[in-house]
């Protein structure tokens, strides 16, 4: 059947190796049958935050499908992502109402502030930036979802505020930790 492609395991970062091992351990408990492909992918993404490349091959083997079929399905749907999300995933809504109220400008401001493009994660894995089609809070446009929290009526200066708030909290947590250690 489909085997994992020959990859030099040294190339994978330890984090990804850990995720792959976890997926391999979880798969036997998941139902078989091609119709369960999407629910399985959803479950992996829910647990690990993304679908690692190697995971696609594992799922294909589990369901007896060609890896190309699994890739085909996973890339068709907007929900699935193939790189790990940041600890603070930022989703900028670009639904109609948000677009008319300048959602693109908000996305640009995040990109500029974080130094990443849409669809990317910062090197330290703190932030990731995505666009979403509509979160359904059109009356509060423009809207940004930071982690689980929905931020409404976002302006470029509020972008600055959102990032600063997260940074301040990180700093506080770091200091707290330092204090506890000493």
């Amino acid at each position: 059947m489909t085997d994992l492609p020959a990859t030099n395991s040294d190339e994978l970062d330890p984090e990804e190796q850990r995720v792959l091992a976890a997926i391999e351990a979880e798969l036997p408990s998941m139902p078989a049958g091609a119709q369960n492909l999407i629910p399985i992918l959803q479950r992996i993404q829910q647990t690990h935050g993304y679908l690692p490349r190697g995971g696609i091959y594992l799922v294909a083997r589990h369901l007896g499908l060609a890896p190309s079929k699994v890739f085909g399905v996973a890339t068709f749907y907007n929900q699935f992502r193939f790189n790990p999300p940041g600890r603070h995933p930022i989703k900028v809504c670009l639904g109609t109402a948000c677009h008319v109220k300048g959602g693109e400008i908000i996305l640009e401001n995040f990109a500029r502030r974080l130094g990443i493009e849409e669809g990317e994660t910062t090197k330290d894995r703190e932030y990731s930036l995505e666009r979403v089609a509509c979160v359904g809070c059109c009356a509060l446009a423009p809207v940004v979802v930071v982690g689980e929290k929905i931020e409404s009526y976002v302006t470029p200066s509020k972008v600055e505020g959102i990032i600063t708030e997260i940074e301040v909290r990180r700093e506080m947590a770091a200091r707290e930790e330092e204090r506890n250690e000493s």
């Binding site: 492909l37 959803q42 749907y77 929900q79 109609t96 400008i105 089609a133 509060l140």
Partner: protein
């Protein structure tokens, strides 16, 4: 309970306890606080409001009951709170943040002395002291059939739904039997609310007559239209009504399997529906023997993974089967051969939510609402530049003008109306001259728009129609599944042309090209995604040709929206010496001090985000926007010499 009791009797037994609970809530001995806690309420901060109520009540040692309800649809007023203090009518307060919640506890809930008129919106019931909600056009002109209980009951409580008449339609349907249920829905002339307006009763009849077994019903909650969220609201605010409709549909066609297809982007809706399914099963409203009738049904939730094309029935079926969501050729229609080749009925959330009401009140009652061809109501999510955005349920047949100006309070800040975009990426933009169009499937289609799923974006004169068309084509181009060449490649070309026009690189021939290409895409596409994708382009070309011409002839964006065609500058006459408000807000440090210590914008650095317009204090109001960029007047700006800048510091 005797084994031979009818479904109605069994339901009546169940209702007794529910009604008892309901009475306690509505003739309260301690104050009851209802807080709207659906997704949009949460976005506005309802969680903080709830926490603040709990904290303040505990501090004062007061007793009150907190009920987390769904969404009333009045998004402009969130977080919305209703307080029922013994002796007062239920009173509604809007925009209740954590601070207001504290004030309400300290002044009103403490001893009932001061109902805080300053935050009060209106009373829910007629009375002598307070204005009622019916004094406001937003409430008066609405006709709530589907959303009647949204925002007034706890979505997590099956008892609340039972107390307001829930599952009576199901009990009636179980007693009437499949054939009469189908007949009742046909008589009601209910048309599918998913967009196309196909008669629901006929769809059911085809599936009921299909010979293959088992049969399947699917509730389509894959609301992919950017700008529409009524399905989410219904699932979050009154999940049992959706479920009841689904069970009745299953009964009508004789299905033993039912699926709810919900977007994974709606986690709260998924959770709420799942809770409702469990509660219904526990009380015998789902499972092997529903209300002792012998009819059995299992319901499961399938989470859609976010593909707009899955709103199309055949694509939705493909995605449940674990494939890429690509539409299939019809016939055979899903009602004959759908999921796994079985007869499958797919109905929208709104359609299914209407069914229990029709069953309970009868088709004759239903037909009195709306128009002859399209009875019933329509739910729109009216957003954009209106005074009172949110979900609005109106009878079919009212005009767009009535909906926008009367019900939703007209355009915000007294600006002029420019266009209304109806039906999302499949719909069109209609100008003021078309506002007399009545709202129903056929009239809107004639005007070039579409009912779609009911998304409506109202725009003032600051929205550029070319840019709006570009936005929608960008969306459909992304969401095209790639099966049909005209849709896959054609929308790409449409987008490329529109992009050039918005950058001022288009020519007049491009407009002709857009027209021809649009018509070809409509002809050459299989499903309605492709067939409707050019609608935003065609309607804007038809109604806003002047705007296209300004872009291609003068390289000018009349609405001052297309960023390549505009520029910001600071009017030195208006700018105040020494003020730094705009400097601090600019994300790219494009604003510098001039030799006379006023401010100017470095056009090279400016990204045209417009933040300085808001930052500039209104008493100066010095930032100007022009199109084309060459219109910036020469104000003889010299940057402040660096030595002077040093001195200043």
């Amino acid at each position: 309970m005797s084994p031979e009791s009818t479904p109605s009797q069994r339901l009546a037994d169940m209702r007794q306890a529910a009604e008892e609970q309901w009475r306690e809530l509505h003739e309260p001995e301690i104050p009851v606080i209802y807080v709207g806690n659906a997704t949009c309420g949460r976005a506005a901060g309802s969680q903080e409001t709830i926490a603040s109520f709990e904290e303040s009540l505990a501090e004062k040692g007061l007793e009150a009951r907190l009920v987390k309800v769904g969404c009333l649809g009045h998004c402009y007023a969130e977080p919305l709170v209703i307080i029922h203090y013994p002796g007062y009518p239920p009173l509604m307060y809007q925009k209740v943040g954590a601070g207001e919640a504290r004030v309400l506890v300290n002044s009103f809930l403490k001893d009932g002395s001061d109902p805080c008129f300053e935050y009060l919106f209106g009373a829910l019931e007629p009375n002598d002291t307070f204005p009622t909600l019916m004094d406001y056009p937003r409430y008066l002109f609405e006709k709530r059939v589907i959303m009647e209980h949204c925002g007034l009951i706890d979505p997590a409580s099956l008892d609340h739904y039972l107390a307001v008449g829930g599952y009576q339609g199901l009990a009636k349907a179980l007693e009437a039997g499949s054939r009469r249920v189908v007949q009742e829905i046909k008589d009601a002339h209910l048309r599918g609310r998913g967009g196309a307006g196909f008669p629901t009763g006929i769809k059911w009849e085809i599936a009921a007559n299909a010979s293959r077994h088992p049969k399947v019903v699917i509730c389509n909650g894959d609301e992919g239209d950017p700008g529409a969220y009524m399905d989410r609201t219904l699932m979050e605010s009154n999940p049992h009504q959706v479920l009841e409709g689904l069970i009745i549909a299953a009964l009508a066609i004789g299905a033993s399997r039912a699926l709810l297809y919900i977007r994974a982007e709606y986690p709260l809706a998924v959770e709420t529906i799942q809770q409702a399914i469990d509660a219904a099963r526990e009380r015998g409203l789902l499972g092997a023997d529903i209300l002792g009738s012998g009819f059995g049904l299992e319901v499961e939730v399938f989470q859609g993974s976010g593909a707009f094309v899955c709103g199309e029935e055949t694509a939705l079926i493909q995605s449940i089967q674990g494939n890429r969501g690509m539409p299939q050729y019809r016939p055979p229609y899903p009602a004959v051969a759908g999921l796994d080749g079985l007869p499958t009925v797919i109905n929208n959330v709104k359609t299914l939510s209407t069914v229990p009401v029709i069953m309970r009140r009868g088709s004759n009652w239903f037909k009195q609402i709306g128009t002859e061809n399209t009875p019933g109501t329509a739910i729109f999510s009216v957003v954009g530049d209106v005074e009172y955005p949110g979900l609005v349920e109106v009878p079919m047949g009212v005009t767009l003008e009535h909906l926008i100006t009367e019900v939703c309070g007209g355009i915000k800040d007294g600006k002029p109306f420019k266009a209304v975009q109806i039906g999302g990426p499949s719909g069109g933009c209609l100008p003021a001259s078309e506002l007399r169009t009545p709202i129903d499937f056929d009239s809107l289609r004639q005007a070039g728009a579409m009912m779609g799923s009911g998304g409506m974006v109202v725009m003032n004169d600051e929205a550029c129609m070319v840019e709006v068309a570009r936005y929608f084509v960008d969306f459909t181009q992304n969401e095209s599944c790639g099966k049909c060449t005209f849709c896959r490649v054609g929308t790409r070309h449409l987008l490329a042309i529109l992009q050039e026009i918005t950058k001022g690189e288009g020519s007049e021939e491009d407009l002709e090209e857009l027209q021809v290409l649009s018509e070809s895409i409509i002809q050459g596409s299989l499903c309605s995604l492709g067939k409707t994708a050019p609608n935003p382009v065609l309607t804007t070309l038809r109604f806003f040709r002047d705007e296209y011409l300004a872009h291609v002839r003068e390289k000018r964006c009349p609405a001052l929206m297309c960023r390549e065609l505009i520029a910001y500058y600071i009017d030195l006459e208006a700018c105040a010496r020494g003020c730094d408000a705009c400097v601090a807000c600019c994300p790219t440090e494009a604003i510098f001090t001039t030799s006379n210590r006023k401010k100017a914008i470095d056009q090279e650095k400016c990204v045209k985000c417009g933040e300085c317009v808001y930052a500039c204090p209104p008493e100066y109001d010095a930032v100007r926007k022009v199109s084309p960029p060459e219109m910036i007047p020469d104000q003889g700006i010299e940057p402040l010499a660096e030595t002077e800048e040093e001195d200043e510091k």
